[in-house]
Symmetry: C2
Subunit: 354 residues, 2 copies
DNA sequence: GTTAGCACTCGTCGCGCTAGAGTGCTAACC
DNA sequence: GGTTAGCACTCTAGCGCGACGAGTGCTAAC
């Protein structure tokens, strides 16, 4: 069988086995792996010298590197990538773990906001990395109900329940001569006119109202203004909330013993734009997707990997769940866990928006 | 003037000035401070030898320490404590900073949840440490309004607006033969009976209903059950949410260059019990209060200080704002900023719950 | 194609050394 | 009596050095 030394291509089974062994050993120990430890621990049936030859090939192909001449090998991002491709399809979660996760989901209060937190913390616990989850966000929202209730002190709360679940609340100032009864009347009118309406429809009614009612400060108009703005913001927002849990787990990895690298990761994570962009790239792909080290756009994220999956139904409500951890993570475990949890979230969304 | 070498007591003005200078220098540089640098930088009008004598006294009194014989001095927690006592009353924020903060508060949407985030991030920005804020939580809550709206798929959303502002939302399963009209009827009945009621009152109505209506699965009963539970949980919860912002700032401090210490701090911070207990201790004290290093109960928090203040009106709604940072923090700046921000939050609460 | 043998490389660890910072003490000074 | 100059002393950080060991790459034999 011809060897392809220079061009990356399908590897021989033995080379692949060795790459796999190196990755698994490196993931477990965080130390460069030598030829000797490989043959003793992994029963490869060949001598260290042979392994060394193969390792040299793998290095030439870009799958391995070593920090200095006399050190063992460690996988490159390309090596991880190859490994991930080879296991991605097969990876299913052990039934025991499935049961444990399902059990955790059974425990939680039947309130939607809890699920994302739960998904994040479940992922964090099961993978010993950071769990990430966003709420299922619909493409565009509709009004389900509006409430306008007096606070007693020249302010009133406007509570907007969206058909897709989320509840928005803002304060409004009211005139002293607006009686609670007035508020209720306006509330009834709002509900009658707006229930089931989309942002665009609210906006067009607002335009009508403005034309019809010259006194621009009318309570009704101002309420519709606020509602319109809320709905517009909701539709425009890329990623509204990102729950992350278990960032502590990432801190425990030896590669982040000095907090400098970690700080840079956190600072990227903090601004939601990064995750927002990432999620948009994701929404076209179907299954679990891994972004390994330098595959991440930002310089700062080159030492971490993200394993993400979209859940929900395209065109309707979708969200993202996933895991962030050091590049040296147990991909088989992480990918299968993310896949399983996103499946669970799918069930929940189906059940809710069916 | 008699010196009190052994007993800690009121210090001579010169000693206090030197302590202050050491603390300010140490806060700025994070390096142990020597006698020489002190006299050159702080124009003390005495020679290094004299400063050394005073430093020896201060060390004997427990206000200073040095990491090893030939190193400069650094303040102990007791030293910081003395310093804080001496500046605490006087500390007011520079007008420029006041203006900047006030301006930030002016920018935000008029929605209560935003304020806590804003307070936390303002504090973080102004002090280069982590900002912490909790929502203003009333002692006990009352119902303002209940909405029961169908989701279409055997589930309904129960939206509970509390008189104090917060909105709670849970999902309920409904029977297939519960028409939307039924939901609305139940909703009207709930509002008529529960508006303005407290958790206890809801509970007693629930008991009545259970006696009166044998079929325990009636939609009304189940709704009241959920409401009762939500309100009870709300009243029982010590600290419902803690927003913290700018933990990155803390990571930048050189004392946390190795992430181990930081990890332990974060892990304590993560479980809300710790902050909950702390906040309860706080609620008796009036003004800004500092917990310096080892004054914190947990071993893990011995390298950080918390500067906290209660805002709101006792007996009505109260919350906490504050700052977490390394023990070596600029207390004058931090204390005055926390005091100012808590004052702003007071205004907001007054305006809202007046 | 595989393997044993071996020279070579390079990072880690422990050691001793030096330079420098800063102290504490003593004796002189005002 | 408080203050100060002078000085010996202490301790750390930093550097160079050599021993050690892990691991490689190459070569020649199987």
């Amino acid at each position: 069988m011809a060897r392809r030394k220079d061009r990356p291509g399908p590897l021989e089974p033995r080379s692949e086995a060795i790459l796999r062994a190196i990755i698994e050993e490196y993931v477990a120990t965080a130390q460069p792996v030598g030829s000797m430890t490989l043959v003793t621990k992994y029963r490869l049936g060949v001598s260290p010298a042979t392994v060394r030859n193969v390792m040299a090939e793998l290095e030439a192909a870009g799958y391995l590197g070593h920090p200095h001449t006399s050190a063992g090998r460690q996988p490159t991002d390309a090596g991880y990538r190859l490994y991930v491709e080879s296991i991605a399809d097969a990876a299913t979660l052990a039934p025991v773990e499935q049961l444990m996760i399902r059990h955790q989901f059974g425990q939680v209060e039947f309130a939607s906001e809890q699920w994302f937190r739960l998904a994040a913390s479940t992922l964090a616990g099961a993978t010993h990395a950071a769990g990430i989850a966003t709420p299922a966000k619909p493409q565009s929202c509709r009004v389900r109900r509006v409430d306008l209730v007096s606070n007693g002190t020249r302010t009133a709360s406007l509570v907007l329940v969206l058909a897709e679940g989320p509840v928005k609340q803002v304060l409004m100032t009211v005139e002293t001569d607006d009686e609670p009864a007035d508020l209720e009347a306006v509330g009834r009118r709002l509900n009658a006119r707006l229930a089931g309406r989309s942002a665009v429809e609210v906006e067009s009614w607002l335009a009508e109202l403005r034309d019809a009612l010259p006194p621009a400060d009318s309570l009704l108009v101002r309420a519709v203004e606020r509602i319109s703005r809320l709905m517009h913001d909701f539709d425009a927002a890329g990623v509204e909330d990102v729950f992350s849990e278990g960032l502590l787990n990432v801190m425990e990895a030896p590669e982040f013993a000095r907090s400098e690298k970690l700080r840079r990761v956190f600072s990227v994570l903090q601004d939601r734009n990064y995750l927002g962009e990432l999620f948009q790239r994701l929404s076209r792909e179907g299954d679990v997707h891994a972004f390994i080290g330098s595959e991440n756009d930002h310089e700062e994220m080159h030492d971490v990997s993200l394993v993400l999956a979209v859940y929900g139904r395209m065109g309707r409500a979708t969200g993202v769940v996933g895991v962030l951890g050091p590049t040296r993570m147990a991909y088989a475990q992480v990918i299968s866990t993310v896949r399983y949890v996103s499946g669970l979230m799918n069930e929940l969304v189906d059940h809710l928006y069916a």
